[in-house]
């Protein structure tokens, strides 16, 4: 249903009607599937890289200037690529890993590749907020580097890590929509195919609504979680 042929009221009614949502709901499923796996990998890889960046810095636990600079440069390089270029670049690589260069799994790889550099920097920022004093106290008690990482740096920074992960997750969601137009399916695909190509504005409105709701939910849950932890620690 297009605004060219129907009134705004009719389009809105249709946008929230059952016919459109029969199409939207499976697309939400696809989108959430991609977002979920992209988020899991981004979280794990991003935290690892963020810790490596922090620890190998000159004032870190294990200063390694050369690896630190190389990793930093690679991350900056990847971050400077526009998302859409990143997706195009990753498609042949996805073919090597999952056997094809289209579909949801290929899209997950592209999403991870473009979100990891951002999240790694966010993790580095979260760790930089940790007071040096806590790490020194741990050192002074004779802790090894692994214990400092897992018993001090990680638990101490959990609220900030959650916060920055929420930011990354929202970016992943918007990128999923973008990747949708490269054959990944999901809400982005629907929005482009129906909303843009066929002027079905009711579908477009429904997709946008679904995306807004998902982002809001993610933001709400992230904020709530971080808030709960801070409250438990009496840090509010």
């Amino acid at each position: 249903m297009s605004l060219r042929t129907h009134s705004l009221y009719e389009v809105l009614v249709s946008a929230f009607g059952p016919d459109v949502w029969k199409m939207i709901i499976p697309a939400i499923g696809d989108t959430l599937y991609m977002v979920f796996w992209a988020a899991v990998f981004t979280l794990i890889i991003g935290i690892c890289l963020g810790f490596i960046l922090t620890i190998t810095a000159d004032d870190g636990l294990l200063p390694l200037p050369l690896p630190h600079r190389v990793l930093g440069a690679v991350i900056n390089g990847l971050r400077s690529l526009p998302e859409i270029i990143m997706i195009i670049l990753m498609l042949p690589i996805a073919r090597v890993i999952v056997g094809k260069s289209y579909g949801t799994n290929a899209c997950i790889i592209a999403l991870v590749a473009s979100c990891v550099p951002m999240y790694a920097r966010l993790v580095q920022g979260a760790l930089a907020e940790l007071s040096k004093g806590k790490i020194e106290a741990a050192k002074a008690m004779g802790s090894g580097i692994w214990r400092i990482i897992f018993s001090v740096m990680l638990p101490e920074s959990v609220p900030t890590l959650i916060h920055s992960f929420t930011v990354a997750l929202v970016a992943i969601i918007s990128m999923t929509a973008l990747a949708g137009s490269f054959g990944a399916g999901g809400l982005g695909d629907i929005a482009v195919r129906y909303g843009f190509n066929r002027f079905q504005h009711d579908v477009l409105i429904a997709t946008v609504t679904a995306l807004v709701l998902i982002v809001q939910a993610v933001q709400f849950i992230g904020d709530l979680l971080a808030h709960m932890i801070l409250r438990k620690r009496h840090m509010l």
Binding site: G133, A137, K139, A140, M141, S143, R233
Partner: protein, 261 residues
């Protein structure tokens, strides 16, 4: 040989290719059971000195010997072990916000890989020692400054160290809380035969609790000896100035009282 010996300790910091000497030929010996005070103006190098003792700061040259072990020649894995017998407390407390009081105190015990029943028993013993049994499940965020420092002390002495280093541990506390922390330090000094090295800005802290002291002036030991002797004949500019200011404050307060408002 004294319990702690520091010989010819030197430390410089490099900033914009300029080398800046912070510790200049430091020699000190501290006996077992001493409460040794170090005072000096801001930037004199007090923190750097105390941090060289457990090598949070690497000295450029010189030796530090604690209880017969030459700290300055230990490998990094030996140092890690040795640090477990050198406790440290800080002005900013540096407690772990993600852990409860009991978990903070248990942290160094986990490093030693004790059984959990041993750890629990030791933690309650320490909680009792620092009068915080009722706060064992609280998070540091919910504690007052004095309580935080008592957790810091319990954590620092959990592994029964021989030495406790204190870098301005009372500087952010009010006078009354400072007093109670000093009493606690005195108690553990006697009870555990713990040698304490403490840095402070306040002469009254040194006079109250330290049997021996040193004044650090621009990276050098300006004077050093029994607290009584040093105070009866202050020879360093730093200490004379400190005492002058101290007196001025006292006179000031008399003046206000005398005004009889």
């Amino acid at each position: 040989m004294a319990f702690i010996e520091i010989h010819n300790l030197e430390k410089s910091f490099k900033t914009d290719n300029k080398s800046f000497r912070v510790l200049n030929n430091i020699n000190l010996s501290i006996d077992k059971g001493d409460i040794f005070g170090i005072a000096g103006f801001s930037g004199a190098g007090k923190s750097t000195l105390i941090r060289c003792l457990n090598r949070l700061e690497e000295p450029d040259s010189g030796t530090v010997i604690i209880n017969g072990r030459e700290i300055t020649s230990l490998s990094s894995s030996q140092l890690k072990k040795e640090r477990r017998s050198i406790g440290m407390i800080f002005q900013a407390f540096n407690l772990f916000d993600s852990k409860t009081v009991a978990e903070n105190i248990a942290y160094p015990l986990h490093i030693e890989k004790f059984k959990s029943s041993t750890i629990n028993a030791r933690v309650s013993e320490l909680l009792q020692l620092v009068n915080l049994e009722h706060r064992s499940n609280a998070y540091p965020g919910a504690l007052s400054g004095g309580e935080k420092q008592r957790v810091g002390i319990a954590r620092a002495i959990a592994n029964e160290p021989k030495v406790l280093l204190s870098d301005e541990a009372t500087s952010s506390l009010d006078p009354q809380t400072t007093f109670s922390i000093l009493e606690l330090l005195q108690k553990i000094n006697k009870k555990l035969d713990l040698t304490i090295i403490l840095i402070t800005h306040e002469l009254s802290v040194i006079q109250y609790i330290c049997n021996r002291m040193a004044i650090l002036e621009a990276g050098k030991i300006a004077e050093y000896g029994d607290t009584k002797n040093v105070f009866s004949a202050p020879s360093s500019e730093t200490l004379q100035m400190f005492m002058k200011v101290h007196h001025q404050f006292q006179q000031q307060s008399l003046f206000v009282e005398g005004a009889g408002i």
